[in-house]
């Protein structure tokens, strides 16, 4: 096949993709394939990726579906190349994405920092696996720090979405592309090996796009206009400082406007479990069990991990409660919960690192133990 066999339709902003035939028609799909189709429906013009478990279904699916839609699929020689292919496609105004898993995402951090510096939109999916190093291929939530703290060099933020089921994963994709275009920055969808692999019935639908700014900065050839330049190098005195202030203002705007989180029975709860992603699904079961036992427990589930629902968690901490953070790591989101709680209440932790997945009973036991702690403010 010639290198340009996969070409985009002229002005391809019109989404297509395979949606459900009716609003209530549910399709059984695994998370990796479902997010791929959702990206296509959201108008993804190009996908670039390098093989890594446990997200290989995404590129296999895209290799078949993107050409069918007249869009671009390319298997890159490395994750370094993949993120830079995204960089190139995005700079021309196209919607571009890549996906990988933890070690591959580490390699992409250089490119993610450049995307942030050059103010380019992009969607990056991380189907997390155990680490550090080559780790293992089991589900994990150990990349929370990397995802929410920037990961690459420099003073920047990445919007991070942490879905907890396949339907929410699907719903995150158009949102990720819209947020990326609106704020001109990379957006990460932080999933894990379970979410990527498990099958759930989902509805695939065309969501209306947000009202988005025109991409008048895009490199399309300087036909009857001034040259456009996409860059992240600013050597003049104070120029980069200005850019960083501009980015800071944008990040603050995102913190004000884009927080997503779900709460359940927090009102009367003596103990609030905070968890995200697949861990939150398990927490739901444990909380239901504890409620049946008469323990007053609720949960808060951040959906945006950055911006983190500081206000929502902080408000819950105004009444004295114990906070139990559950993660598939040694405690990373834990730090954000502590920041939000700001010493108003005790924060305890239960985690399973290295690919371990907590069971409902483990979390239930931890809830029961926590409730037995002396209820003092000290």
């Amino acid at each position: 096949m010639s290198p340009t066999a996969n070409t985009t339709r002229p002005g391809s902003t019109m989404e297509r993709g395979r949606t459900s035939n009716r609003a209530d028609e549910r399709i059984l799909m695994c998370g990796n394939e479902a997010l791929a189709e959702a990206a296509i429906i959201a108008g993804c013009d190009a996908y670039f990726g390098y093989p890594i478990t446990p997200q290989n279904e995404i590129s296999a699916y895209m290799s078949r579906r993107m050409p069918e839609e007249g869009r671009v699929f390319l298997q890159s020689e490395s994750e370094l190349a993949a993120i830079n292919m995204v960089f190139g496609a995005s700079a021309t105004g196209k919607r571009a994405m890549t996906s990988s898993s933890s070690p591959g995402i580490s390699l992409m951090q250089e490119g993610i920092s450049y995307l942030a510096g050059a103010e380019l939109p992009a969607v990056v999916v991380n189907v997390m696996r155990g680490g550090p190093g080559l780790g293992n291929i089991a589900p994990s939530q150990a990349d929370y720090f990397q995802a929410t703290r920037g990961g690459g060099h420099g003073d920047y933020r990445t919007i991070v979405l942490g879905p907890s089921g396949v339907q929410e994963l699907v719903d995150c994709m158009p949102l990720a592309f819209d947020l990326a275009d609106q704020y001109r920055m990379p957006v990460m969808v932080l999933a894990d090996g379970i979410l990527g692999q498990m099958m759930e019935p989902i509805v695939l639908e065309q969501k209306p796009r947000r009202e988005l700014p025109a991409k008048d900065w895009a490199l399309t050839g300087a036909e009857r206009r001034k040259q456009n330049i996409v860059r992240s190098l600013w050597l003049g005195e104070g120029v980069l400082e200005e850019l960083n202030y501009k980015l800071r203002d944008r990040y603050e705007q995102i913190e004000r406007n884009e927080v997503l989180c779900e709460q359940y029975e927090v009102e009367d709860a003596e103990i609030v479990v905070v968890a995200y992603g697949i861990a939150a699904r398990i927490v739901c079961g444990a909380v239901d069990k504890a409620r049946q036992e008469g323990i007053r427990v609720g949960w808060i589930r951040p959906i945006t991990l950055w911006p983190f629902p500081m206000e929502q968690v902080g408000r819950a901490a105004e009444e004295f409660r114990i906070f139990l953070v559950v993660e598939m790591s040694n405690g990373q989101m834990l730090e954000d919960v502590k920041l939000a709680v700001a010493g108003q209440a005790p924060v305890v932790f239960y985690g399973r690192p290295g690919g371990g997945v907590p069971t409902v009973d483990e979390i239930f036991d931890k809830i029961r133990q926590s409730i037995l702690r002396p209820k003092t403010r000290t």
């Binding site: 010639s2 290198p3 340009t4 996969n6 070409t7 985009t8 013009d45 190009a46 670039f48 671009v72 390319l74 890159s76 020689e77 490395s78 370094l80 190349a81 993949a82 830079n84 292919m85 995204v86 960089f87 190139g88 496609a89 995005s90 700079a91 021309t92 196209k94 571009a96 250089e110 490119g111 450049y114 050059a118 490199l219 399309t220 050839g221 300087a222 036909e223 009857r224 040259q227 456009n228 330049i229 996409v230 860059r231 992240s232 190098l233």
Partner: protein, 244 residues
């Protein structure tokens, strides 16, 4: 009065930051002339490297992007695949292309990306202060080879054109030099041919290597540096069309 020589419109009317006797200014001008002669300014996207030419967009009046060190061929791939009607070129130095970006250029060539690569080889890292490059000559003294490069310690100068010419995905590979007026004319012809191939949608990557002087870090006068290209560099990097 008849104008016999004028600035080509795509080359901006401003002084450059390059050192006296540097070859980048000449190479920029050849690219600008090519773009104007082929009337492709309105559909050309250029990629600046990390290195001395990082600010190439300050001198070339086309849509341009500045990318991470060595990644230009990957960025070009993303651009060209999504915009097959555009003319995409990268402008890269020897550290950028032959060292940190070796994988990207090799695989862009291997895949036969329809892009044009202008590879400036001056046998040294310029912007960072004259360190050894993969193309540094044997015995050449640099900031990181104070006693001169030896094959035993640092290996031999890397011949990029010879390497890339072996790939079925490359369609045109030529090595030129900026050491004399005659060589500059040949370089211009090669650059123009490389762009023409892309315009005609020929299937594959074209690359022009340009042996270019760096008087500052070769510690020579500009005139001596031009001579050194002919007397030393062309012995290891022979000029001519290797493919296409």
């Amino acid at each position: 009065m008849k104008t016999v020589f004028a600035r080509t419109p795509t080359l901006k009317d401003c002084p450059t930051h390059y050192c006296p006797g540097c070859g980048h200014g000449i190479a920029h001008r050849l690219i600008a002339e090519t773009i104007d002669e082929l009337s492709i300014r309105g559909r050309t996207i250029g990629i600046a490297p990390v290195g001395c030419a990082v600010l190439a967009y300050d001198y070339l009046d086309v849509d341009m992007i500045e990318v991470a060190h060595g990644r230009a061929p990957a960025v070009a791939t993303g651009m060209k695949r999504t915009n097959p009607d555009k003319i995409v070129f990268s402008y890269q130095g020897d550290g950028d292309l032959a060292s940190i970006g070796a994988a990207e250029i090799l695989h862009a060539g291997h895949r036969g990306e329809q892009i044009t690569v202008i590879f400036i080889n001056n046998a040294v890292y310029g912007m960072t202060g004259g360190q050894m490059a993969p193309t540094t000559m044997i015995d050449q003294v640099t900031a990181t080879t104070p006693k001169g490069r030896t094959a035993a310690e640092q290996g031999y100068p890397l011949q990029v054109c010879e390497l890339l010419a072996t790939l079925p995905g490359t369609i045109y590979i030529e090595r030129c030099a900026l050491s004399s007026v005659a060589q500059v004319r040949k370089t211009k012809k090669a650059i123009k041919h490389a762009f023409e191939l892309q315009i005609s949608s020929a299937h594959g990557l074209s690359l022009v290597e340009v042996l270019s002087p760096c008087p500052t870090y070769w510690r020579m006068s500009p005139a001596k540096a031009m001579e050194w290209i002919d007397t030393h560099m062309t012995k290891v990097f022979p000029l001519g069309r290797l493919k296409g």
